[in-house]
């Protein structure tokens, strides 16, 4: 790797590990300190490696320096406590208490606990994502601001308030303190939100958006690799994300336009991710709880099969039927109606579509247009015009315009 790419790359992979281990060691009230020490370590690396060249084992170098800085901090704290409260005996830290454990096992455990602590319900979900991006994914504040289409000040405030909350709530780090399933609920939701940021976001930077998806997948992978959190719904979410990301490169054309599913170039679909998705989908088929991630993963699986078979659409329809009963969402309702058209015919679907009444949702009119096509093309065009008025983003408007053009042909 080129010299000037090494440190940013190492930042991405090692920052979170060191911060997590230190935060676990110092306690969460000291999260800022953990971050400071880690940032200083990288600063020292930048200065030293620039002058003395890159060390043989850069990661080991980082760990060594971080440990020393952390030990200094602990010793200073002990001295401070000693001076302030002389009646406290034996605040001299024993030798082993000074040790910072950067073994692979502790690194994994610490990151897991960090993930669970960050996804505490007292923190807003946007703050959870921002904190996850910052600490677990090593994103810079500017990068996070870009992803949320907002500015640095707002993100900094969000991060600050979130960390305050963590201090206030005296979040205990430790897997035995928590109700794993409840925790996983929040953690999985955050990971999924992170993934959707990358998949659907309108920020122009394509590489950045794929990075977000990959980070979400990586975080989920961490959960799957740990015994305590390796649950069926976690595997289902991982399968779901793998299936979706397999089409990432085919979704947006060279000039940034959204490419409709029917028009995507299958050669741009990533078969590796599709097979990974299949693997995790199989692993998710255990236990007796059907989560919404299971259902969405099933639907995502069928979307990787381009062929228009009866089985495909009947399966997707039934999966959406179940998904909607579990948790309603307008998009699921619209997609279900589309599958209904394919499985039971356009007439039935049109009757159901009219009942949806999602009048402020431009996708609703796109669906109606799709259903009216070849039945009543005038009404189809009318609905597309309505959609055009409601669409908010350039890619969406372009996609609708394209359908209008196709109709006119």
């Amino acid at each position: 790797m080129k010299e000037d790419e090494l440190i940013p790359h190492l930042f991405r992979t090692e920052y979170r590990k060191i911060v997590s281990v230190l935060a676990k060691r110092f306690g969460f009230e000291q999260l800022e300190t953990a971050e400071d020490i880690t940032s200083e370590t990288f600063l020292t690396a930048t200065q030293t490696w620039g002058l003395q060249g890159i060390p043989k084992n850069p990661t080991a170098w980082l760990y060594y320096v971080a440990k020393n800085k952390a030990k200094n901090f602990l010793q200073h704290t002990a001295v401070f406590i000693n001076k302030v409260s002389p009646e406290i005996n034996n605040t001299d830290l024993r030798h082993d208490e000074l040790e910072i454990d950067l073994s692979p096992q502790n690194i994994n455990d610490s990151q897991l606990q960090m993930m669970i602590a960050i996804c505490h319900p007292s923190i807003s979900s946007e703050a959870q994502i921002a904190l996850s991006l910052r600490i677990l994914c090593g994103f810079g504040v500017e990068e996070i601001a870009d992803a949320f289409l907002t500015n640095k000040e707002i993100i900094n405030k969000r991060l600050f308030r979130a960390k305050e909350k963590l201090r206030e709530e005296k979040i205990k780090i430790g897997l035995d303190f928590v109700d794993i399933d409840k925790c996983l609920d929040t953690v999985l939701r955050t990971i999924y939100l992170l993934f959707n940021e990358g998949y659907y976001s309108i920020s122009q930077d394509k590489t950045m958006r794929k990075d977000l998806c990959l980070e979400a997948i990586r975080l989920c992978m961490m959960l799957v690799e740990n015994e305590v959190t390796n649950k069926p719904q976690v595997n289902a979410l991982l399968a779901l994300m793998c299936f979706h990301i397999s089409r990432f490169d085919a979704r947006v054309s060279e000039n940034g336009e959204l490419v409709l599913y029917e028009e995507q170039d299958i050669n741009l679909w990533n078969p590796d991710f599709i097979s990974k998705g299949g693997y995790f989908l199989t692993r998710s088929a255990s236990g007796n709880q059907l989560s919404k991630y299971h259902l969405e993963a099933g639907i995502a699986y069928w979307n990787t099969q381009k062929a228009d078979s009866k089985e495909k659409w009947e399966s997707i329809l039934q999966l959406y039927n179940q998904l909607l009963q579990l948790e309603y969402s307008p998009i699921a309702a619209l997609n279900r109606t589309f599958a209904l058209a394919k499985a039971n015919g356009k007439k039935t679907a049109l009757a159901e579509a009219e009942k949806l009444k999602l009048n402020d949702n431009h996708f609703y009119y796109v669906l109606l247009a799709e259903l009216y096509t070849d039945i009543d093309n005038n009404r189809a065009a009318e609905n597309l015009q309505k959609a055009l008025l409601l669409a908010k983003t350039v890619p969406d408007r372009q996609a609708i315009q394209k359908r209008l053009d196709n109709l006119a042909k």
């Binding site: 329809l317 039934q318 039927n321 909607l324 009963q325």
Partner: protein, 119 residues
């Protein structure tokens, strides 16, 4: 919007009246499509299916095997939905596929009071 119960009654006891596995598949799809349609309108709250076995206890404390089968139809299950008014609830219930079978029926009731242990 308020909640309504849609109760479904079929003959679940008479052996000859029970559907074959193939018919069962067809009915299941029709049923799931009906419920899915209600869920797509964001009007589905919950649903429960009931066992075919049951007990009936009368005021003289005599217990007989249920379900309550003084009439041929027994309660097979129910779903809870949301609707703006009774008429709307009825229009949703009208599409219940069990109504394709002679003798089957669907009852619509409004939920007017709730005891709950939810905080």
């Amino acid at each position: 919007m308020e909640e309504y119960l849609i109760l479904m009654r079929l003959d679940i006891l008479t052996k000859e009246a029970q559907p074959s596995p193939e018919q069962m598949q067809v009915y299941m799809k029709m049923y799931q499509d009906w419920v899915g349609g209600i869920a797509a309108q964001n009007k589905f709250v919950g649903g429960k299916g009931l066992s075919t076995e049951g007990k009936v206890i009368k005021s003289n404390q005599v217990i007989t095997d249920g379900p309550y089968a003084e009439i041929k139809e027994s309660l097979a299950g129910f779903i809870t939905i949301k609707a703006n008014d009774f008429d709307e609830a009825v229009s949703l219930a009208k599409n219940c596929p069990i109504l394709g079978g002679a003798g089957n029926s669907v009852e619509v009731r409004k939920i007017v009071s709730v005891h709950s242990n939810n905080q």
